[in-house]
Structure formats: structure tokens, C-alpha cells
């Protein structure tokens, strides 16, 4: 088999076969490479795209990145149905099968330990957004003072009016922020009760997500499969708790946020 080896995940041997028509990166069906009692899920990829130079270039192309990420996730999703895979970072590529085997040997203990920890668990992502204020019907401005006050003619008192308006806007903004934080804190606390482990991530990049509003909470929760339904219901129940806030749930994911060695 020529070409390079793209490794999606490492898992314990699982009985249920993967769907026959499952494809991954490059439209290629993944195969299982078994070594030392561990399974590496591997796909063959062309060298002209995945050697260091072309790969580096591709990784700066958001379109290519998006296509590859979705194809990659397709495989991880299929794995998550039948097992609790240890997902690898995007574009972990080896020269050939022996390279993959060497990697497994090198990290055998860590893999076994992590797989034990993650067995039977999935990750749920919860984000809280503060909806944008529409005080003057303008789209949200980048400055924290909210919409700009309408330009005033230069009469006496207009300078003070401006300050007053700005002051009121800031107060409103601060109160909104406080409410959002309080809500997020309470939500995180109650969700943590159902989760074995949690991670708070940095607020998501607004430019990339183009999600309206400001991301207040961006958290991941490690939940045993058996608890997932209750977890989702709990998130659903928060929908009436806070006006002006939006809660987004994603999942179930493989335990991306909990795969690290320091986890």
C-alpha cells in the first residue's frame, strides 16, 4: 500500500464493524491497524497533499481545512457510536504502517491509561451567548459602549447629554454582562454535577463562528453515556431561565477536550 497513513484515533478493539460505506479524508475508507492490543484507525492519503510542504500550505486554506475536518469527523463520529475512541489531532500523518506501529509502541501505556479513563464516556459542548443589544436599531458595534448616540447639534448641554447617554449605555452593558456571567456560572455548576470532568475553553472566536452575540461560556463536559440523556434534558430546561441569553449544545463528541496527558 503506497501513500501516507492518516491516523484518526486509537481505540481498544471493538466488536461491531464500521459501516461499509464509511469514508474519511480523501474519500478513502479507514482501516484498522491492530498492534499490541490497540487499534489505530488509519486512512491512506496521497503524499502530494500530506507531505510536510503541501500539508503546511493546505492547513492555511480554510476551505481545504473545512473539507478535511468534516471528512475526519465523519470517521470519528462513526467510531463514537461503537466505542470510545481516543481522537488524534487533525492531520496526524505517518510514512507507513511501521511508523504507526512504532508510535503505538512508544505510547502504549499512555494510550491504555487514557482509554480506561474515557471508556464509555462522551463529550458535550455547551456555549452561552449574550444576545446583542439593539438600543438604537443599529447592528452591534465592536466597542463596549453599544450603539453610537445620534450626532447632536452643537448647542449647550449636548456635551453633558453625550456623557449621560454613554454612562447609561455602559451601566446597561455592565448589568447585562453581570446577569450573563451569573447565569453561566449557575449553569456550569449544575452541569458539572452530571459530568465527570469539565473544561472551560476560551470564548470562541467571533470572526470565525459568525455567531450573533458575545460568547460568555464555552465549556466541555465529560459525561458517561448513560447520563447523556439526562444531561441534554438539563440543558434544554435552561431555555426559559435567562432572557437575552442563548445556550448552544453540541455533541456527543469523542472526548477531544479530555484526551491530553495532563487531563
Amino acid at each position: 500500500m503506497s501513500g501516507l497513513r492518516y491516523v484518526y484515533a486509537v481505540c481498544r478493539p471493538f466488536g461491531t464493524p464500521l459501516p461499509r460505506q464509511l469514508t474519511g479524508v480523501g474519500g478513502v475508507p479507514p482501516k484498522q491497524l491492530v498492534h499490541h492490543g490497540l487499534v489505530a484507525v488509519v486512512g491512506q492519503v496521497p503524499e502530494e497533499d500530506f507531505a510536510e510542504q503541501p500539508l503546511r500550505a493546505h492547513l492555511e486554506d480554510l476551505d481545504w481545512l473545512g473539507t478535511t475536518a468534516r471528512a475526519h469527523q465523519n470517521v470519528i463520529d462513526a467510531l463514537t457510536v461503537v466505542t470510545s475512541p481516543l481522537p488524534l489531532r487533525l492531520a496526524t500523518v505517518f510514512r507507513d504502517d511501521s511508523g504507526v506501529r512504532a508510535m503505538i509502541e512508544q505510547r502504549e501505556e499512555t494510550f491504555l491509561r487514557t482509554l480506561d479513563r474515557l471508556d464509555g464516556r462522551v463529550e458535550w459542548g455547551v456555549k452561552v451567548y449574550s444576545e446583542s443589544t439593539e438600543t438604537s436599531g443599529e447592528p452591534e458595534a465592536s466597542v463596549d459602549t453599544g450603539a453610537r448616540p445620534a450626532p447632536s447639534p452643537g448647542k449647550t448641554g449636548s456635551g453633558r447629554d453625550y456623557l449621560r447617554q454613554r454612562r447609561n449605555q455602559r451601566k446597561e452593558s455592565e448589568e447585562k454582562w453581570e446577569r450573563a456571567e451569573q447565569f453561566s456560572r449557575r449553569l456550569h455548576e449544575s452541569l458539572s454535577g452530571y459530568a465527570e470532568d469539565t473544561r472551560i475553553h476560551a470564548p470562541q472566536n467571533a470572526a470565525l463562528s459568525r455567531a450573533p452575540g458575545r460568547n460568555i461560556l464555552n465549556a466541555a463536559y465529560l459525561v458517561p453515556r448513560a447520563e447523556s440523556e439526562a444531561f441534554v434534558e438539563l440543558v434544554d430546561r435552561t431555555k426559559d431561565d435567562a432572557p437575552g441569553l442563548r445556550v448552544e449544545l453540541t455533541g456527543p463528541w469523542a472526548a477531544y477536550s479530555f484526551s491530553g496527558e495532563d487531563a
Binding site: T133, S142, G159, R160, Y162, R166
Partner: protein, 102 residues
């Protein structure tokens, strides 16, 4: 800033179009971002002092007018270079954005 628009496709517009000149536009963005940062800081200071009653009526009026004019001027400059308010920001990586997003 010269009054001559660069010759290129669609150069019939009277407004200076800096679109193709990324380096210059990036510099302008950077400069305006810094100015915007200062403007926000000053405004925040002024509002705080206004709130605590630290200023005389006359000071409030003068400072308020100055800030208002500054705000208008920033809007003009943004418009001139086709920049939206959210364009004036810097991503400091792990430190987050320079200016608050809202």
C-alpha cells in the same frame, strides 16, 4: 493622502479605494485601532468622573463635546477607509482581543 485614485478596474469611483493595497490598509487599521483604544479609555475615564460627580457642569459640557466630536471623527475615518467598527481590533492570541467585542 493624494487625491488621485490608483488606476485599476472600477476606478470610476470618487472615493479612494485602498482595497488592493493591503499593506497600507493594514497600517491604517493598526493606527486607527490604537486611536480607538485611546478614545475608549478617555471616554471611560470621563464617564466615570461624570458618574461620581467629579466634574463641574462646564467641564462636563466641554469634555462631553470633545468626546462626541472625537467619536464622530473616528466614524468618518472608518468610513473613509471602508472599515467597520469591528475591523478595528487586534487579536492578542491567548490574551484575547485588544478591544472588547460586543
Amino acid at each position: 493622502m493624494s487625491g488621485e485614485a490608483p488606476k485599476k478596474a472600477g476606478a470610476g469611483r470618487s472615493r479612494l479605494d485602498l482595497e488592493p493595497d493591503t499593506v497600507e490598509r493594514d497600517l491604517i487599521k493598526l493606527v486607527l485601532t490604537v486611536v480607538e483604544l485611546l478614545r475608549q479609555l478617555m471616554e471611560r475615564q470621563a464617564v466615570r468622573r461624570f458618574d461620581t460627580g467629579d466634574l463641574s457642569e462646564d467641564q462636563e459640557e466641554r469634555i462631553g463635546l470633545t468626546l462626541m466630536l472625537l467619536d464622530d471623527r473616528m466614524a468618518e475615518l472608518r468610513d473613509r477607509y471602508g472599515l467597520r467598527p469591528e475591523d478595528l481590533n487586534l487579536d492578542l492570541g491567548p490574551l484575547g482581543p485588544l478591544l472588547p467585542r460586543e
